[in-house]
Amino acid sequence: MHRRVVFEGKFLPYLLLTPQLAIVIVFFFWPAWQAIFQSLLRQDPFGLRTEFIWFENFVQVLSNPFYLSSVRTTVVFSAAVILLAMSSALLLAVMADSGVRGAGVYKTLLLWPYAIAPAVAGALWLFMFHPTVGIFGRALNAAGLGWDYMLHGWQALLLIALASAWKRVGYNFIFFLAGLQSIPKEVTEAASVDGAGPFQRFRKIIFPLLSPTTFFLLVVNVIWAFFETFGVVHSLTKGGPGKATETLIYKVYVDGVVNLDLGGSSAQSVILMLVVVALTAVQFRYIERRVHYQ
C-alpha cells in the first residue's frame, strides 16, 4: 500500500525545504549561536567594550546561591503546575467522556482559559487575589488567614502555580478527552462483564491505554512550565517577594533585560537549553519504554 513520492533531481526537494529551513536558521540557529557566543563574553550593554572570558560567566552563574535557589523554585513550581494541570484535566476529561448533559458547552468553556493571553490571565488572578482589592483576597483576610502574596513567598508561589495551571487545564483536557475517546468501548465493557468496578477499570485499563497521551502531555507540560509561564509571573509577582517566584526563565529576563548583564543572562539561557535537551532525551529514553502504544 505504500507509495513513495520520488522527486526528479535534487533541486526541487531543497527548494521546497527552503522556507522551513530559512525560518529555522533565522529564528532558531542564529539566536542560539548568538546566545552561546555572548555567554563567553564580558561586554557592556552598548557593546563598546568586549572581553573574551571563556567560561567565567558560567562559573559565576553556577556559583551564585540565588541561581541555585531559582533552580529549586523552578522545580517546585513546575512540579506543582504539571501535577495540578494534568490531574484536574484528567478528572474533567473522564467526567466529560462519561456523557454528561451539555458536554459540548462544557468542553468549549473549558478551553477558554487556554486562549487567554498570559498577561490578561495574570490581571484576572490579580483582581481575584489581591489582598485589598481582590474578592477572594479580601475574603481570605476576612477569614483571618493573613493572605498577602506580596509579603509571603509561599503564597506568591501558590498563586502563580494556580494561575499557570488554570491556563493549562484546557489544553490538557482536550488531549485527554481525545485519548479517552479513542479507547475502544469493547475493552472497558469486557472488563465490566468480568466484574471490574469503575475505579479498577480506570486503573487497569483506561490509564495504561491512555499512557501515550499522558506521556506526550508530560513532555509538553514540562517545557511549558519551564518557558511559557513568564507572562503570569511578570504580571502577578515580578519574581517577588524576595526572590520567591523568580523561576529560571524569569531570571534570564531580569538579568538580561532589566540588569543588562548580557553575558550572565546568555550563560543562563545556554544552561536552560541544555537542561531542556537533557530532559527531553531522558523522557524519551526511559519513560517512553513504559508507554503502551497501540
Partner: protein, 461 residues
C-alpha cells in the same frame, strides 16, 4: 533555544498584529495632513524615543508637535517605546545595530550606565557648544543639574521630567483621628504617633505606607539625613564606590519600619509603584510617594488631601537636607551616520524645551517638577501655586538646602538592580526572616557585587 525561538516567533506575530492595528489609524490620520507631510520632507528628522504612557506621553508629544510647528527646518518624531527599562533596552539594541535614535529618554537610575557608555552618548554641554546654541545650565535647579552633571559641573543629559518623593496625607482621616490636618508630621516620631492614632481611632484601614521602597526609604532618606548611600560621594567620584546602607541610621530606620509594621501602623504595599493605589483609594492615610502621583490623586481621591515634606529623625545632625530627584532625562545618542545638522536639530529642540513657558506648562499639566528658575517664576506669576496649595512643596523640598556630597544624587552603576536587591532585603525583614542588621549587611554585600561587576565591565579590571 526553545525560549528564544518562541520569543522571536511571538515577537514577530506581535509585530505583525501591532503593525496591522497601528497602520489603520495612521492611514486615516495621514490623509488630511498630507500637505504637512510634504512640507516635512525637506526637514531634518530627529527620532526621539520616550517611555511615558498616556496621559503624560501625550503631553510630551504635544510639546514635540509644538516645536515642529514653531519652525520649518527640523522635525522631531516622538515615539513611545514602552516603560523606561524597555525604552532603554530598545535604544541599546538600536545602537548596537548602528541605528540609535537621536534622543532617548532614560530614567534617573540609568544615569551611570549612560555616562559610562562613552562613544554611545554625546554629552549635552558638548552638543550645545558644537551646535553653537546658547545654553546656560545655571537656570536649572541645583539638585537637578547636579544629578546629570560630571563632577566638574558639565551637564551630560538634558533634564526634563524630574520628580521627588513627598508625603501625601489624607486630611479627612487626620480630622477623624483628632489630628490637626494643618500639621502633617514633620519627624519620624510624629509620623509613627500619627499612624498609631489613625489606627487606634480606625480613621483609616492603614496608617502609613510607601511606594518605590528603595527610592523613598533609602535614596531620599539618605539625602535628607545627609548620610551617604554609597562611598565616593554616592559614586560621583569613581566606579569603585561601595554601598553604605548598613550604617546605624539605615539599620535603625529599617527596624523602626518593622516595629511599625508589627504594631499595625505601617503596611507594606509592594515593590515599585504598587503601593501608589493605597492612597487615592483612602485605605492608607499617609504615603511616601512620587510628587508625580498628583494627577492620579486629583482624579481618584474622594477626600480632602494634602502634600508635605518627607519626615526625618530630628536627632540626626544636618537633617533635613534637600531631597533628590527621580524621573527621567533626555540623552543624545550617537550613530555612525549622524550629521552635524542633525545634532543641531537636537540642540534646537533642547533649547525649546528649556523655555520657561514649556517648563511651566509641563509642570502644571503633568505634576512633574518645574526644573528651571525662570520656569518657577512664570508658574508663580500665573498664580498656579496660589490656586493649588501644596503644588510647590516638591520643588521647595528639593531646594530647601544646597546639595551636599550626600544629597547631590546618585551615580551608581546597575542602580536598577541595586534597587531590587534593597527591596528584597527589606521584604525579608518584613517577613521576619532576617534581622534589620543582617538584611542591611546582606544588601550591602550583594549590591557591592553588582557594583564590582559594573566596574569590571567598564574598566576591564
Amino acid at each position: 533555544m526553545t525560549t528564544r525561538t518562541k520569543f522571536f516567533v511571538g515577537f514577530v506575530c506581535f509585530a505583525v498584529v501591532a503593525a496591522a492595528f497601528a497602520s489603520t489609524p495612521d492611514v486615516k490620520a495621514a490623509q488630511p495632513t498630507a500637505p504637512a507631510l510634504v512640507a516635512q520632507a525637506g526637514r531634518v528628522q530627529v527620532d526621539f524615543w520616550h517611555g511615558l504612557g498616556r496621559p503624560l506621553g501625550g503631553i510630551l508629544e504635544d510639546i514635540a508637535a509644538e516645536f515642529n510647528a514653531s519652525q520649518t527646518r527640523y522635525h522631531v518624531n516622538a515615539t513611545f517605546k514602552g516603560s523606561y527599562p524597555e525604552t532603554m533596552v530598545a535604544a541599546i539594541a538600536a545602537f548596537r545595530a548602528g541605528n540609535a535614535p537621536h534622543i532617548v529618554q532614560m530614567f534617573e537610575v540609568g544615569t551611570a550606565t549612560m555616562m559610562a557608555a562613552k562613544g554611545a552618548v554625546k554629552p549635552v554641554h558638548e552638543l550645545m557648544k558644537e551646535a553653537g546654541v546658547p545654553f546656560d545650565p545655571s537656570i536649572y535647579l541645583p539638585a537637578i543639574r547636579g544629578y546629570y552633571s560630571t563632577t566638574d559641573g558639565r551637564m551630560v543629559a538634558m533634564p526634563f521630567n524630574s520628580s521627588t518623593a513627598v508625603l501625601w496625607y489624607n486630611r479627612d482621616a487626620f480630622r477623624k483621628a483628632g489630628l490637626d490636618p494643618a500639621k502633617p508630621p514633620k519627624t519620624w516620631a510624629e509620623t509613627r504617633a500619627a499612624a498609631q492614632r489613625i489606627r487606634s481611632t480606625n480613621a483609616a484601614a492603614c496608617g502609613f505606607t510607601f511606594a518605590w521602597p528603595t527610592w523613598t526609604q533609602f535614596e531620599q532618606f539618605s539625602a535628607i539625613h545627609d548620610t551617604p548611600l554609597a562611598t565616593k560621594a554616592n559614586g560621583f567620584e569613581g566606579l569603585d564606590a561601595e554601598m553604605a546602607t548598613n550604617s546605624p541610621l539605615h539599620v535603625r530606620h529599617t527596624q523602626a519600619l518593622l516595629d511599625m509594621m508589627k504594631e499595625g501602623s505601617f503596611k507594606y504595599g509592594g515593590r515599585d509603584s504598587a503601593a501608589d493605589a493605597l492612597f487615592p483609594s483612602g485605605e492608607c492615610a499617609m504615603i511616601h510617594a512620587s510628587s508625580g502621583l498628583r494627577a492620579r490623586v486629583l482624579r481618584d481621591a474622594k477626600f480632602d488631601w494634602g502634600v508635605a515634606y518627607l519626615p526625618y529623625y530630628d536627632d540626626v545632625k544636618g537633617a533635613p537636607k534637600n531631597s533628590i530627584i527621580g524621573g527621567a532625562a533626555f540623552w543624545v545618542m550617537t550613530s555612525p551616520r549622524r550629521t552635524a545638522e542633525e545634532y543641531r536639530a537636537v540642540a534646537e529642540f533642547f533649547k525649546f524645551i528649556g523655555r520657561p513657558e514649556v517648563v511651566a506648562r509641563w509642570h502644571m499639566e503633568s505634576g512633574f517638577l518645574p526644573i528651571t528658575y525662570p520656569g518657577i517664576t512664570l508658574v508663580n506669576a500665573l498664580g498656579y501655586y496660589a490656586a493649588n496649595p501644596g503644588a510647590d512643596i516638591p520643588y521647595k523640598q528639593l531646594t530647601r538646602s544646597l546639595p551636599s556630597r550626600n544629597s547631590k544624587g546618585l551615580r551608581l552603576g546597575n542602580m536598577p538592580e541595586i534597587r531590587v536587591v534593597l527591596q528584597e532585603e527589606m521584604e525579608l525583614v518584613f517577613q521576619g526572616q532576617k534581622s534589620a542588621k543582617a538584611a542591611m549587611d546582606a544588601g550591602v554585600r550583594r549590591a557591592n557585587e553588582i557594583l564590582r561587576r559594573f566596574e569590571k565591565v567598564h574598566t576591564g579590571q
